[in-house]
Amino acid sequence: MLSEKNKIVLDQHFVELTNKFPDFIKKECDNQVVIRGKLPFRAIYNNETIEDEYEIKIIIPDDYPESIPTVNEISGRIPDDFHRNKFIDDSLCLGAPRAIAKKFKKSPTLLYFVEQQVVPFFYSYSYFQKYGKMPYGDLPHGGEGILEYYKSYFGISDDIAITGLLRILADNDYRGHILCPCGSQNKLRKCHGKLLIELIDISLTKACLYEYMQVLDYLFKSKKKIPKEYLSKTIEKEIKKIKNGKK
């Protein structure tokens, strides 16, 4: 349930959204606020204009605008296996979880979300339909892509080392004195800790957890063994809770 204060903010944002995209309506469903409607756009990227229209559903999180909304496509054009958040709700995967959460933070409004995060997703699908390739370059989807991104960021090529670093973000328990997961035998604070600290942002912890989960999923599929200390404490806790609840 949205707090009163957040409801007022949401209403203001909704007005701003419908000024540009008039075909949206806001509804409350099972204690959740949902915005649905038609999203027509004439989007330009790198001098390539694509005009298209999709019907979408935006789910507003309870702590909006602290957290980023999720979006789903209801016109049935996007196939089930095209960039979805598998672990959560099959909503559209607009990018690496931490990255999109961070971007939303820059300007946490519905209009910005739709224009700079949702439209680019649909633009890329329409573009893909038209040209058979993705417009913004290429990274593999899901865990593999996240790994590649961080490998490049940290300058490390070892998947397991990256997992160790991402676990720290996911659990939000940075400790500078532990040995750096990269295997250099140096303390974290003297090694990749510096780069890691740049990424720390409490508000993005949930997103970091999602990223970490996707990486794990990918590594499990590739039959890689994860050292016990790199398994997320948060996830362990959640699993224990569920087990206890079942008893």
């Binding site: 540009k20 995209f21 027509p40 756009f41 004439r42 989007a43 330009i44 990227y45 005009e51 229209e53 296996d81 095209f82 960039h83 995967c93 607009l94 990018g95 690496a96 990255a99 999109i100 971007k103 224009e115 700079q116 995060q117 439209v119 680019p120 633009y123 890329s124 993705m134 417009p135 913004y136 370059g137 290429d138 990274l139 593999p140 989807h141 899901g142 892509g145 991104y149």
Partner: protein, 390 residues
């Protein structure tokens, strides 16, 4: 059988296809201004040819309005031109004429910093405007009197002989000799004949265009007017290009154009014109006279476009087989109901790209007709790094 709405839709689609294979107005105008500048060059004070009233004018498909995009050299059109000079055969040989024109063209190329020098071909000089067009310039002299006499001597007569010309040909036995016997041609005459076959429809279309542009009919340039006859010729040429791609015995355009011109009966819509014309020209036995194939130049009955058919049986056979396919194509097309079906059916025949563009143009047109859609503009900045394919 087709209902009116489906027929209108199909006609629209075929029209959009011809628009895609035609030379765009902008390129046409550019080609025109280029050859006019060549004409000005030949008439300039320092030109050795200025005293012979040099006249450059278009011929062939460029003149007839039946240009089709070349299949392989993306975007390079072939523009056929005549360079007519008022000199008499008593004063110049074929080779002399060819050479004189060549000298001025080479000077033109140089003065305009063109990369390629004019090429000396069998009958013409070719100017290459890189990535834009090939201009084939045919040196010629007026020849109506000789031409008329020639026809009369063979007990033939023809209309449109006033514009007949004599041309040069490297392989001709008299190429280097002062002689009356030169190869002849009559591109202006042929164009007049072709235009005559579609006279009424041409005038009507021009009037409609003038009204829509709120202009006087004379202000509408002729090249902007397209009749079902011209469009039929374009579609047939394009179909032929794809059908015979990599194969031998491709029927020559002049045969297609002449036969279509004869068969056209002022049909007002493209689809009907196509069906009727193809039906009419597909029985090649009707072209036989005394056991020989004859497709005579309507402005020069001494010229038989089908003379090679009498030397190689493969040529008429390929022509007939091709037409059977075309007939089948349009008959089957009648069974297709949706735009998508039509599109998928025509893609392999006219080229996937062309048909796809035509299809999306139709949809855009329809969308605009139904509700003028408002598409909010979004400029995408720094999009999330891409996920590739799953």
């Amino acid at each position: 059988m087709y209902n009116e709405k489906q027929k209108a839709q199909l006609n629209d689609f075929l029209k959009k296809i011809t628009e895609e294979i035609d030379i765009p107005d902008s390129k046409y105008e550019e080609a025109t201004s280029r050859y006019q500048s060549v004409g000005e060059w030949l008439a300039r004070k320092e030109s050795k040819l200025k005293d012979f009233s040099p006249d450059i004018y278009p011929q062939g498909s460029f003149r007839l309005g039946t240009v089709v995009k070349p299949l392989n050299r993306e975007g390079e059109y072939d523009i056929d031109l005549v360079c007519e000079l008022d000199i008499s055969k008593e004063n110049i040989t074929q080779s002399g004429l060819k050479e004189q024109v060549g000298i001025e063209l080479k000077a033109y190329a140089k003065a305009n910093n063109m990369n390629a020098i004019p090429e000396n071909k069998k009958r013409c000089w070719t100017l290459d405007y890189a990535n834009e067009f090939h201009m084939d310039i045919l040196p010629a002299i007026p020849d109506s009197i000789f031409f008329k006499l020639l026809l009369e001597s063979q007990s033939l007569s023809a209309d449109w002989t006033e514009t007949a010309i004599a041309i040069t040909d490297k392989t001709h036995h008299n190429y280097d000799r002062l002689d009356n016997d030169w190869p002849s041609s009559n591109p202006k005459g042929f164009a007049e004949w072709f235009k005559d076959q579609m006279k009424a429809i041409f005038k009507q279309r021009r009037m409609v265009l003038a009204e829509s542009l709120k202009a006087e009919i004379e202000e509408v340039p002729e090249y902007k007017v397209k009749t079902p006859l011209q469009r039929t010729v374009q579609l047939l040429k394009r179909h032929r290009d794809i059908y015979f791609d990599g194969k031998e015995y491709k029927p020559i355009s002049i045969i297609i154009t002449t036969l279509a011109g004869h068969a056209y009966n002022s049909e007002d819509d493209l689809y009907t014109a196509l069906i009727n014309i193809v039906e009419n020209i597909s029985n090649i036995n009707s072209f036989k006279k005394n056991g020989k194939y004859e497709i005579l130049n309507p402005t020069n009955p001494a010229e038989n476009f089908a003379d090679k058919w009498n030397e190689d049986e493969n040529l008429p056979r390929a022509f007939q087989e091709w037409l059977v396919q075309v007939k089948k194509l349009f008959r089957d097309l009648e069974q297709k109901n949706t735009l998508l079906e039509i599109q998928n059916y025509l893609k392999p025949v006219f080229g996937a790209n062309i048909v796809a563009i035509a299809g999306s143009n139709i949809q855009a047109q329809a969308a605009n007709r139904i509700t003028p859609k408002k598409y909010p503009t979004v400029e995408i900045k720094n999009p999330e790094k891409p996920w590739g394919n799953l």
